[in-house]
């Protein structure tokens, strides 16, 4: 292989089974990893531990014993700052640092070399890097939809990371930032829940026509929309946001990327994610000289098709296809 890209799978991809099937557990997920030939995985602490932010020794040991049994390895710990967990105040900076430390402690026990950081305020980046260094664990702050790489706050984050001079803090871009159009399954789901198709089309067409989430909800109500249309607005302005991919912005992130969240929603029988420009993203990653991991992060569970194993398999195949084509091109142009 000319490129130095390795693959991992986030257990987050198995959300539907995890939530719907009481008996579905780490065993089942690790068997899938074995079938996929994947060793590295990410685990989201608040999703899969019963005690959070401080999983018990029993929980940690249970997980590690299964890792050994199935020969898989916790690569990254999906952490986060639950800044709103107190009912009487937002977390103070000191409380946030404490939470980061808890995530570091858990990642340390798991043997993870990386943490997916989320909710770490930009002004704490340098302080957080100090703690990460103690633990010898790198914290990758996630750049996630509806943020886009060119957003001033993302650029300010890069500036702080740069100024820290620390190799223990960096970024993990989530490819959900580059969704270019709503997946048809998303719209079908709203329709299934009773949304009006004309109103849905209006929302999609006017997503970037100067509306805020509030003003379009106002408008949609006038058109006769209700709770289902409100859900659609909230998601399409939120984690299912879409827009022409901000590839220039992505390039500006690349020097600071520690790994990538290969977020995707659906890959059809042709092996293509039709809403996220994987080909362009992977090309930029390879061109940047990145050595490391792309973590497959399936989020199509929001369509409730219960198809994670097949989708994750297709995703890995798609990535390998794209990378080998890039390889061929590179060789042929040499």
């Amino acid at each position: 292989m000319q490129h130095d890209i390795d693959f991992g799978v986030s257990l987050y991809g198995f959300t539907q089974q995890w939530c719907e099937n009481k008996d579905y557990g780490f065993d089942d997920m690790f068997k899938e990893l074995n079938r996929l030939g994947i060793k590295k995985f990410e685990i989201v602490g608040s999703q899969m531990f019963n005690n959070y932010p401080n999983p018990t020794e029993e929980e940690i040991n249970h997980l590690l014993a299964l890792c050994k049994k199935y020969d898989v390895e916790p690569f990254s710990y999906g952490g986060g700052i639950d800044a709103g967990k107190y009912s009487d105040h937002d977390m103070t900076d000191q409380e946030i640092i404490a939470e980061v430390t808890f995530e570091l402690m858990t990642a340390y026990k798991l043997g993870c070399k990386y943490i997916r950081g989320f909710g770490i305020p930009t002004h704490l980046v340098k302080e957080v890097a100090r703690f990460a260094e103690f633990y010898n664990i790198k914290i990758a702050i996630e750049v996630h939809a509806p943020s886009r790489p060119s957003d001033p706050k993302v650029q300010e984050l890069i500036q702080q990371i740069k100024e820290s001079g620390s190799s223990f803090i960096g970024l993990v871009p989530d490819f959900g930032c580059f969704v270019e159009r709503p997946n048809p399954f998303v719209l079908q789901r709203y329709i299934g829940l009773g949304a009006n198709e004309a109103i849905l089309n209006f929302i999609v067409e006017n997503r970037h026509n100067g509306y805020t989430e509030e003003s379009i909800w106002q408008k949609v109500q006038e058109m006769g929309g209700g709770q289902t249309e409100k859900l659609a607005i909230s998601e399409l302005f939120g984690y299912l946001s879409f827009a022409p991919a901000d590839l220039e912005g992505f390039k500006s992130l690349l020097p600071w990327c520690l790994y990538f969240h290969g977020k995707f929603y659906h890959i059809d029988e042709n092996g293509v994610e039709t809403t996220i420009p994987y080909q362009q993203l992977l090309k930029l990653i390879v061109e940047s000289g990145f050595k490391g991991v792309i973590m497959t992060e399936y989020e199509g569970h929001c369509f409730y098709l219960n198809d994670a194993p097949e989708q994750i398999k297709r995703h890995l195949q798609m990535e390998r296809n794209i990378l080998s084509q890039l390889e061929v091109k590179r060789i042929s142009t040499v």
Binding site: Y12, T15, Q16, W18, C19, E20, K22, V44, S46, Q47, M48, F49, N50, N51, Y52, G80, I81, D82, A83, G84, K85, Y86, S87, D90, F118, G119, H144, A145, P146, R189, E213, K230, L231, S234, E235, F237, G238, Y239, L240, H301, C302, Y304
Partner: protein, 143 residues
């Protein structure tokens, strides 16, 4: 991730048929138990519960008749907001003990209103995304 109002599709797991049962004391029916799971992809701190209401056959249960039981502990509804150190995980069923003298054998219309703050989805000071984990089901209780 920032999405102001979320409702996932794991509705069916919220009201737990298996743990829907009357509570007896010394042969007297004193209440019923309602097992509740989160309709979300991750666990949440109990302090994130912003609204919890139960309607049985159209009638709202007064709050003071409800005990919220989780992690082996029992709380009143008004205490929930303070429980930042109690985690309600995805695999962990919370139990509502409702001391209304229980329900007669048969089918009942149970409507739970359960709204939670999403603690990592901060939009502004004290303003967070919310997830709706409400559910509505006709369930059978055996005596």
């Amino acid at each position: 991730m920032p999405t102001k109002f979320l409702k996932l599709g794991f509705d069916d797991r919220v009201l737990c048929e298996r743990s829907f049962r009357n509570i007896y004391l010394n042969g007297n029916r004193v209440g019923f138990n309602l097992g509740v799971n989160l309709n979300y992809y991750r666990g949440l701190h109990v302090s994130c519960i912003e609204r919890l209401e139960v309607k049985v056959n159209g009638e709202t249960i007064p709050e003071y008749l409800i005990l919220f039981c989780i992690n082996g502990k029992k709380f009143s509804v008004s205490q929930l907001k303070d429980l930042f150190a109690e985690f309600w995980s995805i695999k962990n069923t919370a139990h509502l003990e409702i001391y209304n003298y229980g329900l007669p054998e048969g089918k009942h219309d149970i409507a739970l209103t359960l709204e939670l703050r999403i603690p990592y989805m901060k939009f502004a000071p004290r303003t967070y995304g919310a997830v709706d984990s409400s559910a509505h089901k006709k369930m059978t209780i055996l005596n």
